[in-house]
């Protein structure tokens, strides 16, 4: 397979072309400077990608380039730098639109990340559209950021929260979802791919069914955006939330996609500069989309660099990346299963590259410390999904999550580290 990727940095300042014959993971690794780190005297094995991915040089360069060469406040200035900065900022909006196949660029709202995107919908759409007696459906595998905002809105509006249960493999029990889905349901908000289990949920089925009862659907794309092809028009979801830092981009920037009609009807989230058309003490009118939801000076640098990240991913090709990650997940799963006393948490048929496990008689924290001592970065704990951990009757798991730059050899390092740790701890 031949992939040619044009990695285009803001303002056509640098064009780099990558030629790959097949997927060359060593060539990919060259783009990520942090992978040269030595931790505790050992080469870093970074398996905490579901928490945040590392950044390729093009992203780091885009950030530095912005500050070095054209830092300016956007939209309002007429001088050259302001124009360049505005163009770069808006170019990211176009790239995001293409990346998730949104119909219009105005449907792309920049936020701080998934958490803010969900809260934006909660405090604008949900707060004004929900009332006592209404119901919100979420799932049993939600991240706290897709639970707590709805609880808060529930308290304000009287709307009730209903939860789709999870089976022993870590899949949603869809029969139960269809049971819960009555005319009372006004909103369904579910995670596309679980950060703790890796499960890919049948969101298309959920969206279609929810629309039949007139409910609005929000999809938490925190984990799916980096692994799966996202087409919001084909999915027909009403809202979709993204965090840049989980897609090889900078922290502090994210996206809320929303259908135009809904966004138009929603009140603003925050008031301030940029989001207004005219301000007087008697009456203020709101700016057009997307600016209505982007009050104040936005996170320009990180937004600009997000484009570099998405171009980088598109340049390599998500399908190619996915193939590599799936192979790693399969290999890691087999290797883990061969360890005595290990229990995989999350064995769904459809998964992104997340391997969560518990080891009999061993606390995840101890495993995490000893793996770190081998240079292996995994995450231990409840992964901000406490209700899900309760469902499995465990306080937490050890989670290895893979990205495009991980290798089979790194999986071997983790497995060897596990053997060593388990021997010490038992």
């Amino acid at each position: 397979m031949v992939n040619s990727a044009s990695l285009c940095l803001c303002g056509e300042k640098m064009i780099q072309t990558l030629e790959h014959t097949a997927f060359d993971v060593q060539a990919i690794r060259q783009h990520f400077p942090v992978l040269n780190r030595v931790v505790k005297g050992k080469p870093l094995v970074y398996f905490d990608n579901a928490a945040t991915t590392q950044k390729p040089q093009v992203v780091i360069d885009a950030l530095a380039d912005y500050y070095k060469n054209y830092n300016a406040n956007i939209h309002r200035g007429i001088h050259s730098l302001a124009e360049e900065a505005t163009a770069a900022y808006e170019a990211t909006r176009d790239t995001v639109q293409q990346f998730i196949h949104a119909k219009e660029r105005e449907e792309i709202i920049f936020t701080r990340g998934v958490t803010e995107s969900i809260n934006l919908v909660a405090y604008t759409w949900a707060r004004t559209n929900l009332k006592a007696g209404d119901e919100i459906i979420i799932s049993g595998m939600e991240h706290h950021s897709n639970i707590v905002p709805w609880q808060l809105i529930g308290e304000m509006t009287g709307a009730k929260l209903k939860v789709i249960p999870v089976n022993d493999s870590g899949e949603l029990i869809m029969e139960e979802f269809h049971q819960l889905l009555t005319e009372k349901v006004k909103l369904v908000s579910v995670v596309h791919a679980s950060n703790s289990l890796g499960t890919i949920n049948p969101v298309k089925e959920i969206i279609d069914a929810a629309h039949k009862v007139g409910a609005v659907v929000m999809i938490d794309g925190a984990q799916s955006t980096v692994h799966l092809d996202i087409d919001v028009q084909e999915l027909d979801c009403d809202f979709f939330a993204i965090s840049s830092h989980k897609v090889y981009g900078p922290t502090g920037i994210g996206v809320l996609y929303g259908k135009r009609a809904l966004l138009e009807a929603m009140p603003p989230f925050m008031g301030g500069g940029e989001m207004i058309k005219d301000v007087s003490f008697e009456k203020t009118t709101w700016n057009d989309l997307p600016y209505k939801f982007e009050a104040g000076t936005p996170n320009i640098a990180d937004t600009v660099a997000l484009k570099a990240a998405l171009d980088f991913v598109s340049g390599i090709g998500k399908a190619t990346i996915r193939q590599h990650e799936d192979a790693l997940l399969k290999y890691a799963t087999e290797q883990l299963q061969s360890i005595d006393g290990i229990r995989l948490i999350g064995t769904a048929k459809q998964k992104v590259s997340v391997a969560s496990y518990v080891v009999e008689g061993v606390h995840p924290q101890d495993l995490g410390i000893l793996l770190d001592n081998q240079g292996v970065a995994v995450r231990t704990g409840h992964h901000c999904t406490q209700p899900l951990m309760n469902r499995f009757g465990i306080p937490g798991t050890t989670r290895a999550s893979f990205a495009m730059y991980n290798t089979k050899e790194e999986v071997d390092v983790m497995i060897a580290g596990l053997h060593k740790a388990i021997k010490l701890l038992r």
Binding site: H363, Q365, D366, I369, N373, T380, G381, P395, L424, L425
Partner: protein, 146 residues
């Protein structure tokens, strides 16, 4: 006459023991070993009010004042944490409240555990120390009232 060691002396003793190890592997092996040897706490003490927050793992700790000295006992569901607690107990238990309050506890730093354990975990270690000192402060205050 057999003097009990002062807090500083025990700290120094632990630092000496750790200086024998060349690698982190050995240090952890030693800490895990201490963790495994820590006398378990009776179930009746493993209740919420004895829990120490700030750790991924759970620590339960109880203390009592006997003849003017504070005695601690603790347990955790994680072995490495248990090893760390056991060192703290070895250093602080059996001393007067004022000595415990004044203890510098820089052995944690000297054996590399403060830098070595990531911030999130070292917070756990710090909250253990805080709780132990808090207990001592309470005993001190009560003694002052009598």
């Amino acid at each position: 006459m057999s003097e009990i060691k002062s807090i500083a002396e025990t700290e120094e003793e632990i630092v000496d023991e750790f200086s024998l190890f060349d690698s982190w592997d050995e240090k952890y092996e030693y800490i895990i070993d201490m963790g495994k040897k820590l006398k378990p706490l009776e179930d009746e003490h493993k209740k919420d009010e004895n829990k120490i927050k700030g750790c991924q793992s759970t620590v339960w700790m109880v203390s009592e004042l006997k003849d003017g000295k504070v005695y601690y006992r603790a347990e955790s569901d994680a072995v490495i944490v248990k090893g760390l607690v056991s060192m703290l107990i070895r250093v602080l238990s059996g001393h007067a409240p004022q000595e415990i309050i004044n203890a510098k506890l820089d052995f944690i730093d000297k054996i590399g555990m403060k830098q070595h354990l990531a911030q999130t975990r070292s917070n756990g270690l710090l909250s253990m120390v805080k709780q132990m000192k808090l207990d001592a402060t309470v005993y001190q205050a009560k003694a002052g009232m009598n």
